[in-house]
């Protein structure tokens, strides 16, 4: 971790990585979408609406994953004072919020045909994901709420760590309370209970989402670093008069 502490080195590695990552992501998306919408069977109960799953489930996983990464960045910032943690957290939060929004929208689109309702307020899974979305919003608001950027980053890091309590609630709400939402069938201990013809596109799409997340993260971090450099140059120029 410490060897990435120098922003210049991080940029070198990230720049080298980015084209390959982008290629892999495009490939995964292409094959995943092909299997998901053309080469996989419709569900015997749900018909074609099951295809929402190939967006919904990876998006939901990524929503959780992004938040976990946000928490790791927060630890890096507060405990290890890693100079890149701030940049990464700032870059990851909006992406995670986007995934959460996708999970919410696709879930609610899916809920209409399967449960007969767009949204159920009493459902623990649904509401805890909404709370997750609020945490992302709070994180973004806090990051930008201070005149001093470093202060915003640290305050947001404290919030990110506090919000971790919500992650297990999202994950296990289906087991702890009776919900409309179905319990884990793929990512559960003791093997998956899903047909391979559905599992393949799902995993491909999950990989594509992950690659997409990493590409965006690198792009945003790169832009943020450039912005910083520009600010320092402006400040130095200002000082020289």
């Amino acid at each position: 971790m410490q060897f990435l502490a120098n922003p210049a080195r991080f940029l070198r590695i990230a720049n080298a990585l980015l084209p390959w990552l982008a290629l892999i992501t495009i490939g995964l998306f292409a094959s995943g979408l092909y299997y998901a919408f053309l080469a996989s069977p419709p569900d015997y109960q749900q018909g074609d609406s099951v295809r929402i799953m190939y967006i919904h489930v990876p998006a939901a996983w990524m929503a959780l994953m992004s938040y976990a990464s946000l928490a790791v960045f927060a630890l890096m910032l507060l405990v290890w004072k890693h100079p890149l943690a701030d940049v990464l957290a700032r870059s990851a939060a909006p992406i995670g919020a986007g995934f959460t929004l996708i999970a919410l929208v696709t879930g609610s689109l899916w809920g209409r045909p399967t449960w007969g309702t767009w949204w159920a307020w009493g459902d623990a899974r649904l509401t805890s994901v909404l709370v997750l979305f609020f945490f992302y919003l709070g994180h973004m608001a806090l990051t930008h709420a201070f005149d001093d950027a470093t202060r915003g980053a640290r305050a947001a890091a404290v919030l990110a760590l506090v919000g971790v309590v919500n992650l297990p609630v999202v994950k296990f709400s289906v087991d702890w309370w009776s919900t409309l939402h179905q319990p884990a069938s793929i990512s559960r201990i003791g093997g998956s209970a899903i047909d391979p013809s559905m599992l393949t596109p799902l995993l491909l799409m999950a990989g594509a989402f992950l690659g997409y997340f990493l590409c965006l993260l690198i792009l945003r971090a790169r832009a943020e670093l450039a912005r910083r450099k520009l600010r320092v140059l402006q400040l130095l120029a200002a000082e020289r008069g």
Binding site: W119, W121, G122, T127, L130, A141, A145
Partner: protein, 221 residues
């Protein structure tokens, strides 16, 4: 440029320097509205019934919260004294502040309101009435809040006092605003309600500068 325009530009600049600010007021609107379904439970039938009331109540609170520092921030850093010592007078100061506040907070609320209505399961045929009523109602809320902010600046008590002063005055707006949406939902005509809201807005526009300037004068001493 006259004092009104200069102040408006300055306040907008202060607000827009951080676009996050307006976003945060809207976020409070959305999140605050979600509280009620959480508390009440998920019977969508019930929710839809109370949606207009909840929407208006939360819009009111969201528009109140950021008002607190409208004049207090100017008083605390000494800017209010200097704004008063100018050729422009306190009335244009009050109006400029209210305008900037509506542009920064009221307008985004208006834009976000369909989303909240959706979250609350409101019927689609109420949306038009909702937007019209909010368009007429939110400026009144902001104007009333501006007077309350001026009054509470003198008292240096801030937030809660402001709410207490503004709430009773806001009630008519709330009642007619919610009634307009309710009427639209059941298919009644809403013209009369909108007229009342427009009348309230006009009254607020006339009275706010006078009352606000008088209140600010107290805050100066």
């Amino acid at each position: 440029m006259n004092g009104f325009a200069l102040l408006l530009v300055r306040d907008l600049r202060l607000a827009l320097r951080r676009p996050a600010d307006a976003a945060v007021a809207v976020a409070f609107f959305v999140v605050g509205a979600c509280l009620f379904p959480f508390g009440i439970g998920s019977e969508s039938q019930l929710l839809a019934r109370i949606a207009p009331g909840v929407l208006w109540a939360v819009a009111l609170l969201a528009s109140l919260l950021p008002l607190e520092r409208l004049f207090l921030a100017e008083a605390e850093d000494g800017a209010l004294d200097r704004l008063a010592l100018s050729p422009h007078g306190l009335m244009s100061l009050v109006l400029a502040k209210a305008c900037a506040q509506w542009l920064v907070v009221g307008l985004p609320l208006l834009i976000a309101s369909p989303l909240v209505a959706l979250l609350l399961n409101m019927d689609v045929n109420g949306y038009g009435a909702l937007l019209a009523a909010l368009l007429l109602g939110t400026p009144t809320l902001v104007l009333i809040g501006t007077v309350a902010a001026a009054l509470s600046t003198g008292a240096r008590r801030g937030g809660v006092l402001l709410a207490l002063l503004a709430l009773p005055l806001d009630l008519p707006v709330l009642i007619f605003g919610a009634a307009a949406v309710q009427a639209a939902l059941v298919g009644d005509p809403i013209g009369a309600y909108l007229q009342v809201l427009a009348g309230l807005l006009l009254g607020a526009l006339v009275l706010t500068p006078i009352a606000g300037a008088a209140a600010l004068k107290l805050a100066l001493e």
